[in-house]
Structures are given as C-alpha cells and as structure tokens.
C-alpha cells in the first residue's frame, strides 16, 4: 500500500513535466506468460504508474522472447516490438543489419547518454558512436560454487566458507578431492554449442591469450593457435584426463550447466552474476548454499568476460515511442534516474527476489550515476538474503583494475563455434592433438573473417 501511495505521489509530481504523447508502445519486455510473480510486478506497479504519467500512450503488453531464427523475418515484416530484450551477443549484428533504432537523440534529451558505463556503451554503438540500446544489467563471468558439495567433500574452513581455488592448478587439485569424496564432477564445462567457446575464451584470457588482433592495415587476424591458447586447451585436456568434468560435456549448454551445478552433480560452473536465479530458483539450490568467486588465474592474471543484456528498439519505432519506452524503463528502476517511482521499482524487484529464493546481490554498475548506484546499493543492503563473504571474492575480482574484458569483436559467434568444435574433440578423445586442432580452428576462423569482414 505504502509503495502504491509513493508511486502515486511520484506520478503526481511528474505529471507536470510529462508531455502529451500520442504513440503505441509494444512492450516486448513484459514477462513471459508463466512467470506470474514478475507479471504481477508489472501489472500492479509499473503499468498503472506509466498510464498515470502518459495517458495518451497506448501500451501493448506482449512478451517477446528473442529467437535468432525468426528475428530477421519479424524485422522484415515490421513486427518487432517497440522495446525488447536480446542476448548480449546480438547488438553488433542487429546494428549492422539495420534492424534496430538509433536512440542517441532520445538518450541525449534524457541526459542518460553520458551515464552509460563506457565499456558497455561500446557494445551498443556503431563505429560512429551512435547508440542503439540501453543495458538492462551488466554481467561479468566468474565461477559459481555449490557449497553443499564442498561441505560433503570436507573442503570448508572453520566458518563454513568453501576452500575455493584461485588458480586452475588449484582447481584441478581441489577437483580430485571432490571427485574422490563425493563422486561429483569438479567443473561443468560446456561443449554442446557456442556457449562452450564463450566460456573457453575467458579461460584462454587467463593464460594471457588474445584471440583476435588487427594488424597495421586494419585486417583482422585469427589468433586461436598461439602458445597461450594451447596452454589453456591443454589445461582443459588435463581436466578431461583426470576425469574431473561431467560425463558428457558435449551435451551441456548454458541451461543444463545450471542444472548440474544446482543439483550438485558438478561442484563448480562458469557463470555470471545475472544468472543467480538459475541454480537457486530453477534447480533447487538453497540461497545460502551458492558461492561466487572470480575466474581462476592461469599463467596470466584473472580476467572476467563482461557484457550487458541489452534493451533494444524496433527500427520502425518513432521517436515518441522510443521516448515512451525509455520512460517505462525509468519506472522499472532500470534508468540512471532517481525518482520515487524508480526507487519503488527497485524495491519491488528486490522483494520479488527474496520471495522466490533468488540471491539479492549488488548490481553490476551499468550506469555511472553516483546517486543512482548508491540507491541501488541501499536497496541491496536492506534486502540482502545472502552472506556477503560468499560473494566477496567475485566482486573483488570484477572491480579490480583491468579485470574486465569485453568479448572479441569480430564474427564472435563463429569464433565460439570453432572453439567449441575443438572442445568437443578434446573432451571426447583423451589423445587429441591440441595444437593441430587449434591450427585447424584458426584457419577456419581466418577464412570466415576474410569472407565476412576483411573485404
């Protein structure tokens, strides 16, 4: 009730500044049919608040779950929702294909343009600096741990905190103990689809690898068979030979990895902070039995692959519609604006998480607005349902100087595909020749780069 009143108060205050907008906004970001808790959030808080402020804007709620096979068709027929959520890998492709709207002007008008975290902003811009999307949340890869498995293996300290590995060598040693004491896999490594290559690229970075470079003529060169990458893949081969992986990594994808971790079939899994609901809410792991640490270091330092789930806008949306959609985000608390409405939105989200057994964690800073970030931190402090020590190492790692790296820029999905093929061979054939496989992958990627980029 109090929340509703504060929203109404905010609405009344803002009514003076709201302009009359005549537009139709299709909310592709409306939750999916089966998530009644999230729908309730929208129905009872966000939508009424929006309607109060912008009565002339028609809001159509229609969940859109991004699907790569059918998006092009949707774009061609002009049926893309005004605002929709997509995967972190898509923005550059969508921008290149002209399938998303340039929102730089709207962002400038709202004053948000300069507040986007610069590293994420690059992902959402074209080569002229025009911006096409807004980050929902940022993420950085780290390692998730199932505390119960560590407990069963006797690998916890006197405070009950797991004795976690800081390097890949330590992970191998820890893994052997886990395997012996519990039978669980040490690590769930992915090798079914491109997500395998995605995770592996981060592993390669911790060995000092750089997977794509541009020479002085601007030509892009594949670097998949350098000694650093070979070292990383050899480490993976050691994991295979010691039997520390799940029984069939080639059937593991992003979702099944969480099933393995959440149920304890694997002790550790490379994952990001924006997916903490997967092992917990979806796979039954208790909220206080999840730990996150930074990526283990290889022969080089620890790096975290980071990106941000973007909100993007239909190419055929008008400026009014874009503005209206951005205002909706503001009400949801997803914008660097501190209003009563957005604060209420933040709280609503935190309450939803607590009610559904999802860890309430500090958000990854996607905006550089001090006041907003502080407000976010305040909400988290109030609603926190986890032991901070369980996430300390992770947040230390991702906020360390230079700890974040953006993914390789060119034909990334195809690069991941080539790396996954190598992974598949390595995990199914203990005698695989790592150098030869990486040489092939490198040649393939170079062909693809030459065909699609170096023209």
């Amino acid at each position: 009730m109090k929340k509703f009143l504060s929203l109404m108060l905010a609405a009344l205050m803002l009514l003076s500044t709201a302009s009359a907008m005549a537009a139709t906004v299709t909310l592709g970001i409306y939750p999916v049919d089966t998530d009644s808790a999230a729908k309730e959030n929208h129905d009872t808080y966000y939508i009424p608040a929006f309607k109060e402020l912008y009565p002339d804007v028609e809001l159509i709620t229609s969940n859109y779950t991004y699907a790569v096979e059918t998006f092009t068709a949707l774009a061609e027929s002009g049926k893309v929702p005004t605002i929709f959520e997509t995967w972190y890998t898509e923005p550059q492709k969508l921008i290149r294909n002209g399938q998303v709207a340039d929102i730089t002007d709207a962002l400038t008008e709202l004053g948000w343009l300069d507040k986007i975290n610069p590293s994420i902003r690059a992902l959402l811009s074209d080569e002229n600096g025009r911006v096409y999307g807004v980050p929902r949340d940022g993420y950085a890869l780290g390692m998730m741990l199932n505390v119960e498995v560590f407990e069963d293996a006797g690998l916890v300290d006197e405070n009950g905190i797991p004795l976690y590995p800081k390097t890949w060598d330590e992970l191998i040693e820890t893994g052997k103990i886990i395997k012996e004491k519990t039978g669980s896999a040490a690590l769930c490594l992915l090798a079914q689809d491109n997500a395998g290559g995605w995770h592996f690229s981060n592993i390669a970075w911790t060995f000092g690898a750089q997977l794509e470079v541009q020479d002085e003529n601007g030509k892009w060169l594949a670097q998949l068979n350098t000694p650093e990458v070979v070292a990383a893949m050899t480490m993976v081969q050691t994991l295979v030979r010691e039997g520390l992986l799940t029984s069939d990594p080639t059937s593991e994808n992003w979702g099944t990895g969480f099933a393995q971790l959440g149920t304890g079939a694997a002790a550790m899994y490379i994952a990001a902070n924006d997916a903490v609901n997967q092992p917990t809410q979806n796979n039954g792991l208790a909220v206080d039995k999840l730990m996150m640490i930074g990526m283990p270091a290889g022969s080089a330092r620890s790096y975290s692959l980071s990106g941000g789930t973007p909100y993007m806008f239909a190419a055929n949306a008008t400026q009014e519609e874009i503005m209206a959609a951005l205002k909706y985000l503001e009400i949801m608390g997803r914008a660097p604006v501190l209003t009563e409405a957005s604060k209420a939105g933040l709280r609503a989200d935190a309450e939803y998480r607590v009610a559904n057994g999802i860890p309430v964690l500090p958000a990854f800073p996607v905006w550089t607005d001090e006041a907003f970030n502080q407000a976010q931190a305040d909400v988290v402090a109030e609603f926190s349902n986890v032991d901070d020590r369980m996430f300390e190492n992770y947040f230390d790692a991702v906020s360390a100087e230079g700890g974040l790296k953006m993914e390789e820029p060119m034909e990334t999905q195809q690069m991941y595909g080539e790396l996954t093929k190598v992974l598949q061979e390595v995990v199914t054939n203990p005698e695989a020749d790592v150098q030869a496989l990486l040489d092939t992958a490198n040649a393939n990627l170079q062909t693809i780069l030459d065909e699609n980029v170096n023209k």
Binding site: T250, T420, K421, T428
Partner: protein, 304 residues
C-alpha cells in the same frame, strides 16, 4: 449437307469439351494453387537464390556459382556433412534395412499374438518425431543416470558416452531412427508375405524342400520387388536426415554427426544466409535425383 451438320456438331462438341475442361481445371485450381505456393515456387526460388547474394531475405547481386564454390571449397563443415550423410545412409542400410524384413518374417511365423506384435512394432511410428527424439536423448544420457547406461550398469558395464563418441554417434542415431521407423516398413513386408499363397509352400514341401530352402526360393523372391522399392525410398529419406542430428547432438562432436540438411538449416536460420543455404539444398536435390535415375536405370537393366 451432312458435312455441315457434322462440322457444327464437331464444333459444339469441341466447345462442350472445352467447357468441361475449364470446369475440371477450376476444380483442380485450389490444389494447384497450393502446390504452386508451397512446393513448386519455393523450389524454383531456392534454385534462383543460390545464384545470388542475400541481405536478410532479399536477393542483392548475382554471383553465379560463388555460393557453390564457397561451400565446396571454403566452408569447414561442408565435406564432413557430405561424408556423414553418406555414412547415415550406409549405416541405415546395414542396420535398418534388414530389420523390418526379418521382423516381418518372424511375426508372420507366429501362431498366436500376431496382432499384438504388429501393434507393438508400429506404435513408435505413430509417435511425434520430436518427442521421441528428445526421449531417446535422455535415454542415451552419458552418465549413469541415462537409462541405457543404467541397464548396462546392471550387467556390470561402465557407462558409455553414446552421443559424444565420434565413432558411435552415427550408428546410435541410426538405431534410434530404426526404432522409430521400422514399424511401418515391417507392416508393409508383412502384408506382402501374407499374399504368398499356401499352395506354393505345400508344393515345395512335397518336393522335399527344407526350411531355409523354402525361405530362399519362395519367400524372398516374392518380396523382392517390395524390397527394391523400399530400398531406394529409404536411401532418399535417410540422406535428408535433419531432425535427429539437430536435436540429439547439434552436429557434434566436432562435426561427427552433422548432416547436409542441418547445414541448410544452420545457414538459413542461424546465420541468416539464405543464399548459401539454397545452394546446399540444390546440391542435395541434385544428388537425390541422380540416385533415383541411376537406380531406375539399373533396375530396368536387371529386368531385361
């Protein structure tokens, strides 16, 4: 005078015929329109698109045989897919061609319970393909929670990674396809066997023919024509395999199970390159047509 009358008659008969023909064409029109939209135009489009570059769904510039040469010379997955498509076909003939024949012959011999066996064998065929493929994916799970491995475990055999072993994956997929498809073929053979008259067998027995002799000289020749037709039909069907590798393994491990039609799907719907996808599907069609023509030629020769 009679010629004028007969000419007039002929004219009115012709007009009548023309009207009748028009009526017939109108009746067939809906079906023809649907065939045009769903079958003929897309096939022509596929051929046309294969000679162009595409941006999204539109064709941009004419590039002749470029897509074909790219796929055959540069694409890293093309030749593995070709190899696999032939492997699938080969394995399916080894595992899946004789099984329905043998099953039909066995069921035909049973004195009681024919109907039960027929029904049981046909049930998998009636089930939705996607559901059964998913089902078998779980049954063949690589760790000890997979049902097949659980059963093997009772016999003391260690769990096998069925779908991630490059040597095993294609035969395993063929086994799954056989489980699903053998039923219909078995029933067809069964009907063929039931049409063999009793007298022939009885005559052979009087002549002193043993069991194997009867099978070789009576049963097999009778179903020979049926087998021949089903042979080419099976080859054509298996060569186009798509759903099984797509759902079971995604083409892995490391292209060990990727099929040509899977490449088509990947190029068109995952990478968005409709032109390259069309070029692969045209190549598949050419192979299939060639196989059918060669087969027809060979079987015609045999008859001579």
């Amino acid at each position: 005078m009679s010629t004028i009358k007969s000419n007039a008659l002929k004219q009115s008969a012709r007009r009548h015929r023309a009207l009748k023909d028009l009526g017939a064409w109108l009746i067939m029109l809906p079906g023809i329109a649907l065939f045009a939209f769903f079958v003929w135009v897309p096939l022509a489009e596929a051929v046309r698109m294969s000679f162009y570059k595409t941006q999204g769904m539109r064709t941009t510039e004419f590039v002749g045989l470029y897509n074909y040469s790219y796929m055959m010379l540069k694409d890293p997955d093309f030749w593995p897919a070709v190899r696999n498509s032939f492997l699938y076909t080969g394995w399916s003939l080894v595992i899946g061609f004789l099984v329905p024949m043998a099953l039909a012959m066995m069921i035909h011999e049973t004195k009681r319970g024919k109907s039960l066996f027929r029904t049981a064998v046909y049930l998998p065929n009636m089930m939705p393909a996607l559901a059964t493929i998913f089902l078998w994916k779980y049954l063949f799970r690589a760790d000890q929670t997979g049902y097949v491995n659980m059963l093997l475990g009772k016999l003391g055999i260690a769990p096998v990674s069925w779908l991630s072993n490059a040597q095993l994956v294609i035969p395993v997929i063929v086994v799954i396809m056989t489980w699903k498809g053998a039923g219909a073929t078995t029933l067809i053979y069964l009907a063929g066997l039931q049409s063999i008259s009793q007298e022939i067998y009885e005559a052979a027995i009087i002549d002193g023919a043993g069991i194997w002799s009867r099978i070789r000289h009576i049963t097999l020749p009778q179903i020979y024509n049926l087998a021949r037709t089903l042979f080419i039909l099976q080859i054509i069907a298996v060569f186009q395999i798509l759903y099984e590798p797509m759902v079971l393994t995604g083409g892995g491990p490391n292209n060990a199970s990727v099929s040509l039609m899977q490449l088509v799907f990947r190029q068109a719907f995952e990478l968005g390159d409709y032109a390259k996808a069309s070029s692969v599907s045209v190549m598949v069609s050419v192979v299939l047509i060639t196989m059918t023509l060669v087969y027809n030629q060979l079987s015609r020769k045999k008859e001579m």
